[in-house]
């Protein structure tokens, strides 16, 4: 039986061969690829979590997050002090907001749907409308903005879920699933879409401190063990 992740990878290869699978961590995957809706070519990144509930813990990330890696959307794309419409802010990198491609309250998409037939196409449409908005100030693709009560920002941190369970067994099970027993910090960084994934060699104390996910506890019992192991 073909797994959900295998299905996604197969269809991405078939429909969008220029997209590269940068990371297959079992529990999540990252693709990057070019889209050229009109004149300009953009590189987009798709971070995909097929499941959010597994082995007794909950992954807090959205099932899918799409950002524009190059050229960056930026904070003021029109030079009018307005951000782009239809985005989620990305606190980790404000110049790379997450594209909002579907209405989560209208069940327009679910993780069982193929990225190649939905998310990638919608991202191309978003970029096309973005160029139209840049040129004219009007967003021609329609859409809606949530009220304040509805607004939700996807929360980061795969590993915070494992921490929250306070279970070493669960943490190591997560590590076997992802193929990595890197620190919570590195897992958080990867989940935020930081790429390439950092290693301990590149991580200074200052960077680790700066990259603390808000969900991580500063009294993390595992952090001490891992730091001592390093």
């Amino acid at each position: 039986m073909v797994s959900r992740m295998e299905q996604q990878q197969r269809e991405m290869r078939r429909c969008h061969p220029s997209f590269k699978l940068l990371l297959d961590a079992g529990l999540w995957a990252v693709w990057e690829g070019p889209l050229r809706p009109s004149n300009l070519t953009y590189t987009i990144r798709i971070v995909y979590f097929p499941w959010r509930v597994t082995d007794g813990f909950v992954i807090e990330n959205s099932h899918v997050a799409v950002t524009v890696v190059n050229p960056a959307i930026g904070l003021d794309p029109r030079g009018t002090k307005e951000p782009a419409p239809h985005i989620y802010p990305n606190p980790a990198n404000p110049t790379m907001p997450k594209l909002c491609l579907f209405d989560p309250l209208a069940d327009e998409w679910g993780p069982e749907q193929l990225l190649a037939h939905t998310i990638v196409l919608w991202a191309a449409q978003w970029l096309f409308c973005f160029e139209g908005w840049q040129a004219t100030g009007h967003w021609y693709g329609g859409g809606r903005h949530p009220g304040k009560a509805e607004a939700r920002t996807p929360r980061a941190s795969v590993a915070s879920a494992a921490l929250n369970s306070r279970s070493l067994v669960a943490f190591h099970r997560l590590g076997r699933r992802t193929g990595s027993t890197a620190s919570t910090t590195l897992l958080s960084a990867a989940a935020e879409g930081t790429f390439p994934p950092w290693s301990w060699l590149t991580l200074s104390d200052d960077v680790r401190a700066a990259n603390q996910s808000p969900a991580l506890s500063t009294t993390d019992p595992w952090r001490g063990a891992l730091d001592r192991a390093a």
Partner: protein
Amino acid sequence: MNTMSRFARKLADMEPIDILLADVVVRIQLAPSEYRRAVQRADTLADWLDRPDSPLRGRVRLVYPQGSMAINATVARHSERAEHDIDLMAELDLWAGATPREVLDLLYKAIRGERGSRYWDMTERRTRCITITYADGMHLDITPAERRPLTIDRESDIFHSKPEDPREPEQRIAANPHAFATWFDSQTPADDAFGLFFEQRTLDEERMLLAEVATEPVPDQEPAYRKSKALIALQLLKRWRNIVYDRRPGQRRPPSVLLTWSVARNANRTSALVEELTWQANALLDLLAEADGRRQLISVVNPKCRDDVLTDRWPATLADQRQFMGDLREFIREMATLKAAAAQQQMLPVLERLFGERPARDAVAGYFKRAGDQMRSGKGLVLPSGRIPVAATGLAAGATGAQAAPKHTFYGEE
């Protein structure tokens, strides 16, 4: 499979700049309903000239289109006002020894009629024609002509008379605009996929405009609008020339017939509209530069009537010629900027400068709106490269090689 489907892939691959340039022309050309109105007005005028008390009764042999009207290359005169010039020839049966002044005065009197007639306040006598100006901005320019004996294909004499300037001699001048138009058409056959695309864009725009007045149904086809890239390039060059010379009131501009001749001679050498436009501007500049290099004024004749000099009134001096050469160099630089533009945000100011703010803005807005409408109705197409095939709007996904994107709602914080 219908004709559009046959060309679906070509349409899907059309470059955005070509779509925008074509859309500018859709907005400045004589629309099909306006074309039909012009033809009706010409027919009405012909009947009027032959009315019982007309001084030209029994002398009007034929009224037919000439110039831009004959090749469907008419463009709106001014940058903001949609005024079109419709050129007609009135072939007359004249008496022996008729002078140019007599002929033009007679035609003026025949059109104007008596005080209170429909044309009384609308008519102006000019040096070679009579102009009727309608309230909707259309201008009919009627040039009297007399067939030259023993010639073929409507070769005629037209008449030059400027009573307000006694120094200017009256003249009979050879002309064969009918044969010239036929020659132009033979040099610029309609493109296949591009021609169909332009025809459909014209009809879509027509439907939108007429929906507000709901007077007549828009046909599904209008073959006269299956234009070649060369013809579209000619219309863009004329429009640009109009805008440049609008800033020089009182100065005679390079004649449309010169631009038309140059475009016809250099047609069908490129594969994209933006390339055709650049190529044609360069070809015209080379032509002027070749004459200028010999310190001579350019001189061009009708290839179907060697006595018909197309440049008899412009340029009058080398300064006129060199000024237009400078304009062409600037145009070519602007085209390079346009081609290098990464997005429509950079293209828009160039299009505005070259062709006028209103058609440029409307073309850019229309480009995004058409695709946006498709997205909102769940009919949006996306090619494997991520391209949104605006020119293939309304066609089936399979025919274009695109995927149909499921209906969705953009969301997110404001």
